[in-house]
């Protein structure tokens, strides 16, 4: 299936990788990778988590050094010793985890590493002009003096792209750029990428979303477990085929679920308002109801109050006003008491909140439930904890099933399973679920989605927050859209994607006001 060998080299290659290998200690992240990227093309790279995509791109960008193999840029063999070298060669990269200094302004971030002289004055003026020009040409608007930490993720990503472009990148690498964007924003990004292609630039894009691959790329390479499985022309493939190449077996891309069977209201939020520490209103008069046996999805671009809503209900933030009722009783502001009331919470960020990465996994398997008398009195009953962890790991197929391994040493997907197992296995009545599959590969996504549907069918009330619109649409029975701390509309999951996208961008009453 490797088309490189068959295709005549009609278009010159912007990048050629020949036998590139890279190990991190015992982990072989890349082994013997061959890749050819045509100049002026948008080239996609897909693969499960940990397949080695980011590593490969980082080698190209000079962030890591390959252990062996050759890199050619525009036909010339090169040694890319550091990122400065890559930048000189016209390679720019937008990393999966943004490489931005949070308390710097946009301008300072753009300037970093390309200051244009020992003093900043001159370079700053030039960079400002350059930013204005790029904004005009590509519609990449950002306020140069805004602090990164104040910007929504979408804008942060624009900064990353601008960083690359101001440095004169001819080859742009984007590592999972759309994970944090609304469909609209993603479309905008794709528009920019097409424009760049039209200017003759080459784009390498990593994504887990096969829909996007199909929409934008000219060719796509698939990686699995550190190896290159093959490269195909996008026009000649299908999502199903790509998924199979990635996972090595057939995968179900569509969630199968029956109709919901909603019961009485379980979770009710009434006129909830919340100010954060800085006094900014994060939630504005939010009301919603989740009934038993249904999944209510909250769609929205990250940073529009979804996190605050989940955390307020979970007792982690104190609302300024309003009420939250669970089965008709107002809830206490105490995560511990809420757990006893059978309210489970899958936090959005497993690293930041859901897990103590340095704990052994059996310790994480009781996080939040550690006061339960099942796990001992004055001293922990270690056998009970061990048994609990084992049963969780078994039920959720956590690999490796080693309860004494530090959680940090599990892969992302398995870490997520550890969280889910802990929260799902204790028979909750209501569930708050945030970003259940963020950064998790297709195989695991399938598994997690199935579990969530099972919980619904068992009559649990589920409030689901995700920035993946696809996920919201495929799991939810009702969709609420949040924008700027408000719920701006309720739609059925079958609603038009464009309409939802507009709502997410704050355009209510799409018809009339869309034009304004």
């Amino acid at each position: 299936m490797n088309l490189d060998k068959t295709e005549p080299t009609a278009v010159p290659a912007a990048i050629e990788l020949i036998g590139v290998s890279k190990s991190f200690g015992p982990v072989k992240a890349n082994s013997d990778i061959h890749l050819r990227v045509a100049k002026g093309a948008i080239h996609g790279i897909v693969g499960e988590n940990g397949a080695g995509k980011s590593t490969l791109m980082s080698i190209l960008y000079g962030f890591y050094q390959a252990d062996s193999g050759e890199i050619r840029v525009n036909g010339q063999p090169v040694r890319i010793r550091d990122s400065q070298e890559a930048i000189r060669l016209g390679i720019g990269m937008v990393h999966q985890h943004f490489m931005l200094v949070e308390n710097f302004t946009v301008l300072e971030n753009v300037l970093l590493g390309a200051e244009g002289g020992a003093l900043l004055g001159k370079g700053k003026a030039e960079a400002r002009a350059k930013l204005a020009e790029l904004a005009r040409e590509h519609g990449l608007e950002v306020d140069p003096d805004a602090l990164i930490s104040d910007l929504p993720v979408g804008a942060q990503q624009r900064v990353e792209i601008l960083k690359a472009l101001t440095r004169g990148a001819e080859i742009l690498i984007l590592d999972e750029p759309t994970g944090v964007l609304t469909p609209d924003e993603a479309d905008q990004l794709f528009e920019v990428l097409r424009q760049l292609r039209a200017e003759g630039k080459t784009v390498l894009i990593i994504t887990h979303k096969l829909r996007e691959i199909m929409a934008i790329t000219d060719a796509v390479s698939v990686m699995r477990q550190g190896r290159m499985v093959g490269t195909v022309r996008t026009a000649e493939t299908s999502p199903e085929q790509l998924a199979e190449m990635m996972v090595g077996r057939r995968v179900l891309l569509k969630v199968e679920k029956g109709p919901a069977n909603p019961g009485p209201a379980a979770l009710t939020v009434e006129n909830l308002t919340l100010r954060d520490g800085a006094g900014v209103e994060r939630l504005k008069n939010v009301s919603l109801t989740v009934r038993r046996g249904e999944i209510v999805g909250i769609a929205g671009v990250a940073g529009n109050g979804q996190s605050e809503l989940l955390e307020a209900i979970a007792g982690l933030r104190r609302p300024t006003s309003g009420r939250i009722l669970l089965d008709g009783t107002p809830i206490p502001h105490d995560p511990r008491a809420l757990r006893e009331m059978r309210l489970a919470h899958i936090p959005e960020d497993r690293h930041k909140m859901g897990l103590v990465l340095k704990f052994e996994t059996r310790e994480n398997s009781i996080l939040g439930y550690h006061l339960d008398h099942r796990y001992g009195g004055a001293l922990f009953d270690r056998a009970a904890i061990e048994a609990e962890c084992q049963s969780q790991m078994e039920a959720y197929d956590v690999r490796p099933p080693n309860s004494r391994l530090k959680t940090a040493n599990f892969s992302g997907g398995n870490q997520q399973k550890i969280v889910l197992a802990r929260e799902f296995e204790r028979g909750p009545h209501a569930l708050l679920i945030g970003q259940p599959t963020r950064g998790v590969d297709i195989g695991a996504i399938e598994f997690i989605h199935r579990r969530i549907i099972e919980m619904r069918d068992a009559g649990k009330a589920i409030l689901l927050v995700s920035v993946e619109l696809d996920e919201i649409r495929s799991l939810s029975d009702r969709v609420l859209v949040m924008f700027d701390g408000r719920i701006v509309g309720e739609r059925s999951p079958e609603a038009d994607e464009r309409e939802l996208g507009l709502l997410m961008a704050g355009v209510t009453g799409a018809g009339e006001r869309g034009a304004a």
Partner: protein
């Protein structure tokens, strides 16, 4: 601490590497010794002999180690909660006040075996008290605990100077700032007296029952941290405070409790010199043990067993160093401080200096 890239055989990890680090530290110290015209091997022999070569030396090593176990544990417990308690010195100092008040108040009435447990409570209570304000300020106001505990060290020094000169001093005719001697009956026996019937000779060394208390404290800390819910919450907080909040851990309360435990442990250090050795409270008795506790906790990886070993190492350096000062007047007594520093540097901060080379020799080849 960076994750070792390759796994090494256990004996390399826990035997060879620490040994090499120590050797490197002593090599550099030896260089300095040679520089000032002395024979480094001689010096090493004197230190080792002084620390372990005869009963009294061993006794002194244990005596110093007792101090460091307490202060090391204090720092370690706070570390586990993500707090850096630099205030061990002050807490130990005030802990001494607790011991002294109990002893001065009750020594006419109680035999040592009744008084000692009360003194333990006094030491722990006063040490905890001195950690309490910084703890509350950290928990409720977010005031940086590093600064507040440093400040409390100074405040403790002033308070104690005043108490020992003007308040608790036996009065006219007494030159030294300190309390009166406790009643001899109130002072617990030394290990040398207890062990003498068994043919163990610890000479006139002041090692005393506080050593037993220290080891019990280490065991207690281990149980607390890894076997109880409170310890679980302390560690969760230390590793990831958002996750702790998510798990319903009452953050402010756990910060305060962890600091109180830390302060209590530091305070209990006072049992060793005040009750066990001097039999009275003296100005500046902690003598820097609170700070050595930081190094001990760091070197012991904040694990009670590690703390015990690190404390023994430092006890050895203290006693061996004193032997050195005795035998080699040409070498300043401060040589000991230099050696301590080098040991901390090589076994602490430069612990991985030899790892890559050893990895090349011993690591099983990756598949």
């Amino acid at each position: 601490m960076s994750q070792p890239a390759a796994r090494l055989p256990l004996w390399v990890d826990f035997g060879l590497i620490p040994l090499l680090n120590l050797v490197a530290a002593f090599a550099v110290a030896g260089l300095v010794v040679a520089l000032i015209g002395e024979n480094p091997l001689d010096v090493a022999r004197i230190i080792l002999y002084g620390a372990f070569g005869y009963g009294e030396g061993v006794g002194f090593t244990l005596f110093y180690a007792t101090n460091f176990i307490f202060t090391g544990l204090a720092v370690a417990v706070a570390f586990h909660a993500g707090l850096f308690n630099i205030g061990g010195e002050g807490q130990a100092y005030i802990g001494g006040l607790g011991v002294a008040l109990v002893a001065l108040g009750l020594d006419p009435y109680l035999p040592w075996w009744l008084l000692a447990p009360l003194a333990v409570i006094g030491a722990a209570l006063f040490g905890a008290l001195w950690a309490w304000i910084p703890a509350v300020l950290q928990a409720k106001r977010g005031s940086h605990i590093v600064i507040t505990t440093i400040m409390f060290n100074f405040i403790a020094a002033s308070l104690m100077a005043w108490l020992l000169v003007d308040v608790l001093n036996p009065g006219a005719g007494s030159m030294s700032p300190g309390t009166r001697f406790f009643d001899a009956e109130a002072v617990p026996p030394r290990l040398s007296e207890i062990l003498a019937p068994f043919g163990v000779d610890l000479g006139g060394s002041p090692a005393n029952l506080a050593l037993v208390a220290a080891v019990l404290a280490a065991l207690g800390v281990w149980l607390l941290l890894w076997r109880t819910r409170l310890g679980y919450e302390i560690r969760a907080l230390g590793h990831n405070s958002s996750a702790a909040a998510y798990a319903g851990v009452p953050i402010a309360r756990v910060i305060i409790i962890a600091m109180l435990i830390s302060g209590a442990l530091a305070g209990m250090m006072a049992l060793n010199p005040v009750l066990g050795d001097q039999g009275r409270l003296l100005l500046e008795f902690p003598g820097g043990a609170g700070f050595v506790g930081i190094a001990v906790a760091l070197m012991g990886r904040s694990h009670p067993l590690g703390v015990i070993f690190a404390a023994l190492l430092f006890g050895m350096l203290y006693q061996g160093g004193s032997e050195l000062a005795f035998e080699k007047p040409s070498i300043s007594r401060d040589m000991l401080i230099l050696i301590q520093g080098l040991v901390i540097l090589f076994s602490g901060a430069l612990e991985n200096l030899f790892r890559p080379a050893l990895a090349r020799i011993f690591a099983p080849r990756a598949a």
